[in-house]
């Protein structure tokens, strides 16, 4: 393949739709062409950031779901379908917004206001894990351990780190790049066949994570956060930042982070 063919086939390569022979040719070109490799990495960063920005702008679907259920129930009961919801007038939208704000403050918002501050990277990791692992939003994951290790290497992370993190019956399931708090991370998912946990890895920044360390594990500061449904724990080695996210429990997150501190 030449650079033109690489540009043409890139959408299929990124989405994992090339057959094995084409993918091998594509990889072979990337190994010899630094420009195409740089270009693909840059595109992966932009794609990951675009995902992060759009997914952070979640809309509320409760009103749509309720309305659709009402319409279906009316139809099932033999009633004619009512007219579609008229567009909200400005005053009605404002009144709804105020009511919604009051409800939020009375419920979930209060918890948010009083709980301890959470490091942005912990919050971003929890959200990413929820969307991509718990809810299984479809993403172009790499599943071949060799390709994942190469991706790690391209990010300055030792290939051995990827396999070393599998512990207690867990194995590496998939990996890809993602953006958390304006930084690119390697997102690895490990599974024991039933449960899954995420590890987000990147080469260490000059400044430490803005979270108070809960303990020092194997000489490395270990920080934890509990968010709605997700338990996050991170460690920092001289070379790497590793953020672990699980839905199991804060104890499980702590154990996984301690294990990471021993092997990284």
């Amino acid at each position: 393949m030449n650079c033109g063919e690489i540009a043409r086939q890139a959408p299929l390569y990124i989405s994992g739709e090339l057959d094995a022979r084409q993918a091998a040719e594509f990889d072979a070109h990337l190994r010899t062409c630094a420009e195409c490799m740089r270009e693909l990495e840059r595109q992966a960063r932009i794609d990951a950031r675009l995902c992060e920005v759009v997914l952070a702008e979640e809309g509320d679907t409760a009103r749509i779901d309720r309305r659709v259920r009402e319409l279906i129930a009316a139809k099932a009961a033999g009633q004619p379908l009512p007219q579609m919801r008229p567009r909200f007038r400005g005053w009605a939208a404002a009144a709804l917004a105020i009511a919604a704000a009051a409800i939020v403050l009375a419920g979930v918002g209060y918890r948010t206001l009083v709980r301890q501050p959470v490091a942005p990277v912990h919050a971003a990791a929890a959200r990413d894990h929820e969307l991509e692992v718990v809810e299984h939003q479809r993403r172009p994951w790499l599943t071949d351990p060799g390709q994942i290790a190469t991706l790690a290497e391209q990010q300055g992370i030792a290939r051995s780190a990827v396999t070393a993190l599998a512990s207690g019956g867990y194995r590496l399931s998939r990996g890809k790049l993602c953006f958390l708090d304006h930084r690119i991370f390697l997102h690895l998912v490990y599974t024991d066949g039933v449960r899954e946990f995420s590890v987000y890895l990147r080469t260490r920044d000059s400044k430490p994570l803005p979270v108070t360390a809960r303990e020092i594990s194997n000489g490395k500061p270990l920080c934890t956060s509990d968010l709605d449904g997700e338990h996050v724990a991170s460690i920092e080695t001289p070379q790497l930042t590793a953020v672990v996210v699980t839905n199991e429990s804060s104890d499980a997150a702590l154990k996984l982070a301690r294990f990471a501190s021993a092997v990284l």
Partner: protein, 172 residues
């Protein structure tokens, strides 16, 4: 409702209006309910729902083009902007969101389906009723257009960038 969040996310971008997006998702789910017997068990339910949504959207578009435009795009952009404070550089959320909003409907569509929702090119071709070559080239050009808006340089030589345009010519 299954997938209503994904549908709403894409609908907000392609309609550029929060209320129109809600109407479109509502219409999509009702059409899916009415036409559920046409869904083949074992096939891709997600792609099927998105195809229904785009059919509804294009049908609305035909009506829109023959009637007055009621939606203020300026207002819509404000609604879609994230609440995060602007930071410097292309990774700033406001810049990325604005750059996406500023793209053509075709480009926003393929970026939302392919990059954000993770559909494969073959699935997008099915959803949008387009040849796969057209989807590939459109996705390449949409990525390029987004980069230009974000002012992220392309280091590839001109010749290799033109590959996308060739693919579209071949497809059509």
């Amino acid at each position: 409702m299954p997938l209503s969040r994904s549908l709403l996310r894409v609908a907000r971008r392609i309609t550029s209006d929060a209320a129109a997006a809600e109407d479109l998702v509502q219409e999509t789910l009702l059409r899916a309910w009415r036409g559920f017997e046409q869904f083949e068990t074992g096939t891709n339910a997600r792609a099927w729902l998105f195809r229904i949504m785009f059919n509804a959207f294009y049908a609305q578009g035909r009506k829109r083009r023959s009637g007055p435009v009621l939606v203020s795009l300026e207002h819509a952009e404000l609604e879609l902007e994230p609440t995060a404070q602007p930071l410097s550089g292309w990774t700033d959320a406001v810049s990325v969101s604005r750059a996406l909003n500023g793209l053509s409907e075709e480009h926003k569509t393929v970026l939302m389906l392919g990059v954000v929702e993770g559909f494969k090119c073959r699935e997008m071709a099915e959803i949008l009723s387009l040849p796969i070559g057209t989807v590939m080239s459109r996705l390449s050009r949409a990525r390029q257009a987004l980069r230009e808006r974000l002012q992220v340089p392309d280091s590839r030589p001109e010749g290799s960038r033109a590959g996308a345009a060739c693919a579209e010519r071949e497809a059509s």
